[in-house]
């Protein structure tokens, strides 16, 4: 019996899970604090969770260039994981900043909201750092279950309920496929460890022809593709994004998506390396399909949240291009792109949150008419985010896209790049429509309900700085992304 404990303790390497450990620990503390807080007062919890995220962030950063493995190969906290964790932390922090006021406006000042976001982040970290499918799966589930709750958070709002339910059902459904895939892989290789799978395939090259292995790998990917909203597994995205509380929408499109990409990349690049040729052609197709569907359908959207949801689908498509490239540039580009996307998308949503009325029925194209004149700063800021989403210089959206397409072209996927940029051209239209509304139409409303609160302003400011800084001086972070890539 001592033996067993010894053995168990030997496997423990707290360093490897320190960030998530700290984060979940602090989340639990916050949970306790919120239990003992006065009902309806959430601000302190919000700020405390920011503190928690900052602490976690610092802890995470200590892991840079200091890869830590542990728990019998369940987890590996390397630069890759650090980078993605930081993306999720940033996303979570920005989300929390824009949430507090929003929750009060919408009438749901429930302080458990923040711990849930922190748990989501922790789940994302496990996804990013997990090297065992089991870890990744459980991280994914922590993340998903939290998000189901958060998406349906406005429990008296049918829209929010519906978003939660749809997310839940489709998420659970996709989990079924993912698990089936894991099971098959397990059957073929006898292990659920990613490097174990890779090693097995390396040792038995025939495995790559084993239909069970191929099917397992593809089914496994379905689970992740679902999370990153790649077509045809994207169908939940618009509905859920539209119905969920706006900060959660913003968060979902950045943090969890980044985590899903992390897991997807680790699984495909390391674990399913043997299927490279199949997977690149698959991803090629999915990337094109995803961005095309996202962009095309976004053209006819009037609801801004829904439009941004489609836009986020298309951005997932762009990011997939990096995976098609399957080279160092493309993979690092995904990291960089996810960071960039976090800033620009969260920023855009933050502005939407500010200009929304209670219930957010005014977040339509017509609803922002003349915003640029009534609220010039918000107008300019939103314009910057939109230009970044379009991928125009000198914003981060451009450098991000450049990085991605550089990867694809370096690997020789010219047509993919062409289709990608043509998609960008299509996307211009719907982003421009928002700008058209903001600036080219006369204001119909005076936007006097818009009050700018400090936390949201901070999140917007951080996003703007991020977008412009990464647009003009991307050097440092591009290099970090390079170091974080495989």
């Amino acid at each position: 019996m001592e033996n067993l404990v010894q053995e168990a303790i030997q496997n423990v390497n707290l360093q490897a899970i320190m960030p998530s450990l700290v984060l979940s620990g602090l989340a639990m503390v916050l949970l306790m604090i919120s239990v003992f807080s006065k009902r309806g007062s959430t601000t302190h919890v919000a700020w405390l969770s920011i503190v928690a995220l900052v602490i976690t962030g610092l802890v995470t950063l200590t892991g840079w260039n200091n890869p830590q493995a542990g728990f019998a190969g369940s987890v590996l906290f390397d630069n890759f994981a650090t980078f993605f964790s930081m993306i999720c932390i940033v996303a979570a922090a920005l989300t929390i900043l824009m949430s507090d006021d929003y929750l009060r406006r919408e009438g749901y000042p429930v302080s458990e909201y923040y711990p849930l976001i922190l748990f989501t982040t922790a789940g994302a970290m496990w996804m990013a750092s997990g090297t065992d499918l089991m870890t990744i799966f459980l991280g994914l589930e922590v993340l998903s279950v939290s998000l189901y709750v958060l998406a349906g958070f406005f429990r008296n709002q049918t829209r929010s309920n519906e978003a939660g339910l749809k997310y839940f059902f489709l998420g659970a459904f996709s989990t079924g496929f993912l698990l089936y895939g894991v099971a098959l892989l397990y059957g073929v290789t006898g292990t659920t460890k990613i490097d174990g799978i890779a090693a097995y395939v390396q040792a038995n090259p025939d495995t790559a022809l084993n239909t069970m292995f191929i099917a397992g790998g593809l089914l496994l990917l379905v689970g992740f593709l679902f999370k990153i909203a790649a077509a045809p597994f994207h169908m939940w995205t618009p509905d859920v994004y539209q119905g969920a509380p706006t900060p959660i929408t913003a968060f979902m499109s950045a943090g969890p998506k980044a985590a899903a990409f992390a897991a997807l990349m680790r699984v495909t690049i390391i674990g399913l390396d043997g299927l490279q040729s199949e997977l690149t052609s698959l991803f090629w197709l999915l990337a094109v399909l995803t961005m095309t569907i996202g962009n095309f359908v976004a053209l006819s959207q009037k609801d801004l949240k829904r439009m941004l949801a489609y836009s986020s689908i298309s951005h997932a498509g762009y990011a997939l291009v990096g995976l098609v490239a399957w080279n160092a540039i493309g993979l690092s580009a995904i990291l960089f792109y996810m960071l960039v996307y976090t800033f620009m998308n969260l920023g855009a949503f933050a502005v939407l949150i500010l200009i929304g009325k209670k219930g957010e029925d005014n977040l339509t194209l017509d609803g922002v008419a003349g915003l640029g004149y009534k609220k010039p700063i918000l107008g300019i800021v939103l314009t910057i985010f939109l230009f970044s989403l379009m991928g125009l210089p000198p914003t981060a959206g451009f450098t991000g896209k450049f990085y991605i397409f550089a990867g694809a072209i370096e690997a020789g996927y010219i047509w993919l790049a062409i289709l990608g940029v043509m998609n960008s051209a299509v996307s211009l239209y719907y982003y421009l429509r928002v700008i058209v509304q903001m600036y080219f139409r006369d204001p119909e409303e005076d936007f006097n309900w818009v009050t700018i609160n400090v936390p949201t302003a901070i999140s917007i400011a951080v996003s703007v700085v991020g977008v412009l800084y990464l647009g003009l001086f991307p050097n440092s972070l591009m290099n970090l992304a390079k170091m974080a890539g495989f």
Partner: protein, 167 residues
């Protein structure tokens, strides 16, 4: 003997699974589902995994299904059902058939090659299934286990938040 038991149980499992879909009343569906679960427990025993069988009955048939039935009762759904199926019966059937085709195909032409682990019937009988599970869980999969605890915590919080009546 084993084969007979397998086929018998499999038939029951499939039929009851079908009934889950077919039954008009969700309560009946739930009862059929429990039957399926029990059949699976039988298989687990056949596969020398008695602990999993026990868990299957306790967690699934016991906890989850009770929860489901409880909710069905709570919402009084048994009477409210108007029609069983959505519009996609044909499409669903077709897709299900395709799914079956694909799965059968890769099972038929694939091979579960990852054999050669040290856990054999002998090992199981000498150590006991439960111990093996315990060893694996706390030595090799400690972290997932811990994560699972967080997951349950999250689920509890979530369930509480969502089902509270007022803010």
């Amino acid at each position: 003997m084993e084969a007979i038991l397998f086929y018998l149980t499999a038939t029951v499992a499939i039929i009851s699974a079908l009934f889950v879909i077919k039954c008009r009343n969700p309560v009946n569906s739930a009862l059929n589902l429990i039957t399926t679960f029990l059949c699976l427990a039988v298989f687990y025993i056949m596969l020398e995994a008695p602990f999993m069988a026990a868990i299957q009955i306790m967690v699934y048939a016991g906890a989850i299904m009770v929860l489901i039935v409880f909710v069905i009762m709570l919402l009084n759904l048994g009477l409210a059902v108007k029609s069983r199926y959505s519009h996609g019966l044909a499409g669903g059937g077709f897709l299900a058939a395709l799914t079956l085709l694909v799965t059968v195909y890769f099972i038929k032409f694939g091979e579960a090659t990852g054999t050669g682990g040290e856990i054999t019937s002998e090992v199981i009988s000498s150590y006991g299934h439960t111990e093996l599970i315990g060893r694996a869980m706390f030595v090799d999969f400690l972290l997932p286990f811990e994560i699972a605890s967080i997951l349950l915590l999250v689920a509890i919080i979530g369930a509480v938040i969502l089902s509270k009546r007022e803010v």
